[in-house]
């Protein structure tokens, strides 16, 4: 075979010996040069992530200081102290209302936030809401599996916080004139120790509602499971004044 081939070669004329130019089969790809184009989305996403990192860091520091053993007891003193620490970190961050919502969902993602301790988490979220630039904050939390406790703590006058979904215990405690709207249920101790402002719950409310409440109003569109020892203020159940009025025994199931 080899001999045959070489013989064939010998018969080629000089013109035939001139080879056709080689064609690069990938010639067409030469035109493609990857250009890194930037669109505003890239910038928005980057800055959102930076803010989220700062918020996460603040929360982790709060846990380091206030829940060293990852245990946290709800007591008057511990709440006040934790809030003061949370305030300190929150004040340093430039965030928007949407960042607060993102943080609530990040709490349920262990890859993002390793520890969700309901008490400090709620206090931290409350501090974020209280120091947010916006006067009205909407948190769409219907798909959140965890009900956040202590949300709306010390909500100041002039702020309106709307929560879509259910909230946990101690919702709106120590309210300081703000307006808290929960488009779902709240658990026990709602509005405890509130001084002024308004809490509106679209569905039902748990036990000890308004415990040591000093002022303000609680409106419930569903049922109130039990009232606490109220000092002053008003509680309405389906537009009907239930406190003050025909006094019900505290925490009575009805």
């Amino acid at each position: 075979m080899k001999n045959g081939c070489s013989k064939k070669k010998a018969f080629l004329s000089p013109q035939q010996e001139v080879r056709a130019p080689l064609i690069n089969p990938f010639e067409e790809f030469r035109a493609f040069q990857f250009k890194h184009t930037e669109i505003p989305l890239d910038q928005i996403v980057r800055s959102t992530e930076v803010i989220m990192d700062q918020i996460r860091l603040g929360y982790e520091k709060l846990l380091e200081e206030e829940a060293k053993e990852l245990v946290w007891m709800v007591q008057y003193n511990t709440i006040i102290k934790a809030y003061e620490v949370a305030e300190k970190y929150v004040k340093e961050i430039d965030y928007s209302a949407e960042d607060i919502e993102d943080f609530c969902f990040a709490l349920e993602t262990p890859q993002k936030v390793p520890y969700l301790i309901p008490g400090p988490a709620g206090i931290y979220i409350s501090a974020l809401c209280n120091y947010a630039k916006e006067e009205e904050i909407v948190l769409k939390l219907s798909e959140l599996k965890t009900e956040i406790n202590l949300i709306g703590f010390r909500l100041p006058r002039g702020k309106r916080l709307m929560v879509e979904g259910d909230t946990g215990d101690f919702t709106g405690i120590g309210l300081e004139g703000g307006e808290l709207l929960v488009e779902g249920n709240t658990k026990n101790w709602t509005g405890a120790g509130m001084r002024a402002g308004k809490i509106l719950v679209k569905k039902n409310i748990g036990l000890h509602t308004g415990e040591w409440m000093m002022g303000g109003e609680i409106y419930v569109e569903g049922r109130v499971r039990g009232l606490g020892n109220i000092v002053e203020g008003k509680v309405y159940e389906r537009d009907k004044l239930v406190y003050p009025g025909k006094a019900r025994f505290p925490n009575q199931y009805y």
């Binding site: 493609f32 989305l41 969902f105």
Partner: protein, 545 residues
């Protein structure tokens, strides 16, 4: 004539488009009639009419000439076609990319929306935003110009405003409603181009768009019409081929491993799946009319992810086998039957072919897989396969596939309290659906076998394998042990959890070489343990390794 001219135009720009999108495997787009249901009470000449510009069906992009004519004067024909095709191609090259991603995105949207129609809308908008944003960022495209000129409803206006913000291009949108601005602000924070975060992103997207989508849905319902179609093409199952849907369902079942999630998605798409001839009856379900049994489909698709090699045994046949015809090779089918000449030397499902052998005249012993009798426990102590993922049913389904792939037949004896009638018997068959249906039957009562039922099924077969899967809490266990002690068939017994009954069974049959027992302590391990162990059992080479 007009269509011919447009087709020529497409042929001219197609090489450039292909190059721009790095040579996608898509046939040349066509100009032709598309499925564009007219909205009731609206004429096509009506300026408010918004038709479908692009149809994507089984990888074929079709441009609607009537849509092009409605856009006359607003954009040059060439730019308009290029923008439509850029959009269509990006669906294949970036998002959703495959059917499984589409299903996963829809399932996440459904979790937020709670309603099938609005969830489909949310998924469609999300997929479109990703495709268009990808195109605007990575390619030179006329998509922004197209959006500037499209007629918009309330949702489309919000999305166009989102584009304005995230692309940094003026599309001529200014808001009158304050609420919409907030929606856009929320939508603009989503990392659309980060594929790894799509599931999280679509939840956020749906959450933000939910009030608008619900409002739009209500308007549609009160209007009685179907509403406007998506001018950039609907994202339904027509987009995908049978094979892609098959693969997508398989991957989705494997990924979720959750029966309820799979069932919900399949039921939501049941109309479309049926429309595509994807019933449960007849082969892979390519028959019309039969309702889709999502439970059976779930186990079928999940089991397809596993394959068990089956060690053949000498079987006495009336004659020797000779190659008769070809059939497509599937993963798990015997390699030795592959016809390399017609398979182009490749081992690849869809290309590779195997010889189908037929029996000739004469007598002799040849290697083959015997038929199998699957005995499955569906008593109250077992998981209901129609409520939760039952690893017992999954294991039995994998075994079914292994035997059927080797051209053997499978019979099923599904029992709970058999003497009291709690049993279902399926005679030897090669009909996969029938086998799966019997496996999925759940009685949930006591646990007792009736040997009177099993004996005739064993006696009528000269060579037969037995596969039993149970928790061994059988009231007449001694009878079963005694029965297994008498027969010589290969028996694979799988029992779930440690209990005194299982220990008793193990002890009683430990000396029997034809019986292999596998204990499963964690239910989740069943598919792996069964499959791995059977491989060892049927294929001694694996054991030696």
């Amino acid at each position: 004539m007009e269509e011919k001219r447009l087709q020529t135009l497409i042929e001219e720009i197609w090489p450039r488009l292909k190059r721009k999108h790095l040579y996608p495997e898509i046939p040349i787009p066509k100009v032709g009639k598309v499925n564009d249901p007219p909205d009731e009470g609206m004429e096509k000449n009506d300026p408010a009419f918004r038709g479908v510009g692009l149809e994507m069906k089984d990888k074929q992009l079709t441009i609607n000439p009537s849509f092009l004519s409605t856009m006359k004067g607003k954009m040059s024909e060439e730019n308009l076609i290029e923008a439509l095709l850029d959009h269509g191609i990006t669906h294949y090259t970036f998002c959703p990319w495959d059917f499984q991603t589409h299903l996963a995105l829809y399932a996440e949207a459904k979790k937020v929306m709670g309603d099938k129609e609005t969830a489909k809308q949310a998924a469609t908008h999300f997929i479109d935003v990703i495709a268009d944003t990808h195109c605007v960022k990575r390619r030179v495209t006329e998509i922004p110009e197209l959006h500037r000129n499209l007629k918009k409803g309330a949702v489309e206006e919000v999305i166009a405003s989102l584009y304005q913000r995230i692309w940094g291009i003026d599309l001529g949108i200014s808001f009158s409603k304050k609420g919409n601005e907030e929606v856009v602000r929320r939508l603009a924070r989503i990392p659309y181009l980060d594929r790894s975060r799509w599931t999280e992103s679509i939840r956020k997207f749906s959450r933000s768009l939910k009030p608008l989508l619900i409002l739009e849905q209500k308007e549609k319902e009160s209007g009685g019409g179907k509403g406007d179609s998506n001018p950039l093409g609907e994202h339904d199952l027509n987009h995908y081929s049978y094979e892609e849907i098959d693969q997508g369902l398989r991957d989705y079942a494997q990924k979720t491993m959750g029966l309820s999630e799979f069932k919900e998605v399949v039921e939501d798409f049941s109309a479309e799946l049926k429309e595509m001839g994807y019933g449960i009856e007849g082969g892979m379900g390519r028959g019309r009319g039969a309702p889709i049994d999502a439970d059976i489909l779930f186990y079928m698709k999940l089991a397809e992810n596993y394959s068990i090699p089956l060690k053949k045994i000498p079987l006495e046949e009336a004659g020797t086998l000779h190659p008769h015809s070809h059939s497509p090779w599937e993963v798990g089918s015997p390699f030795q039957d592959i016809d390399i000449w017609t398979s182009f030397g490749k081992i690849m499902p869809g290309i590779t072919q195997i010889w189908k052998k037929k029996e000739g005249k004469g007598r002799g012993k040849i290697e083959g897989a015997p038929d199998c009798l699957i005995i499955i426990d569906s008593s109250g102590s077992m998981i209901n396969p129609r409520k939760n993922l039952s690893y017992a049913v999954l294991g039995a389904a994998c075994v079914t596939n292994a035997y059927l792939r080797n051209h053997s037949k499978v019979a099923v004896y599904n029992f709970s309290d058999a003497p009291m009638g709690g049993r279902e018997v399926l005679d030897y068959t090669s009909n996969r659906e029938e086998v799966y249906r019997t496996l999925c039957k759940y009685f949930g009562g006591g646990t007792a076998l009736d040997l009177e039922d099993i004996m005739p099924m064993i006696k009528k077969k000269k060579e037969l394998d037995l596969f039993i899967i149970t928790d061994m809490k059988i009231t007449n266990l001694e009878t079963l042990i005694g029965f297994f002690g008498k027969i010589q068939n290969r028996i694979t017994a799988v029992h779930i959890g440690e209990n005194p009954y299982a220990s008793r069974f193990e002890k009683a049959v430990e000396k029997r070489k034809n019986i292999n027992i596998f204990t499963v302590k964690k239910k989740e391990d069943i598919p792996h343990i069964i499959l791995g162990s059977i491989r060892e059992y049927f294929n001694p080479i694996h054991k030696a390794r």
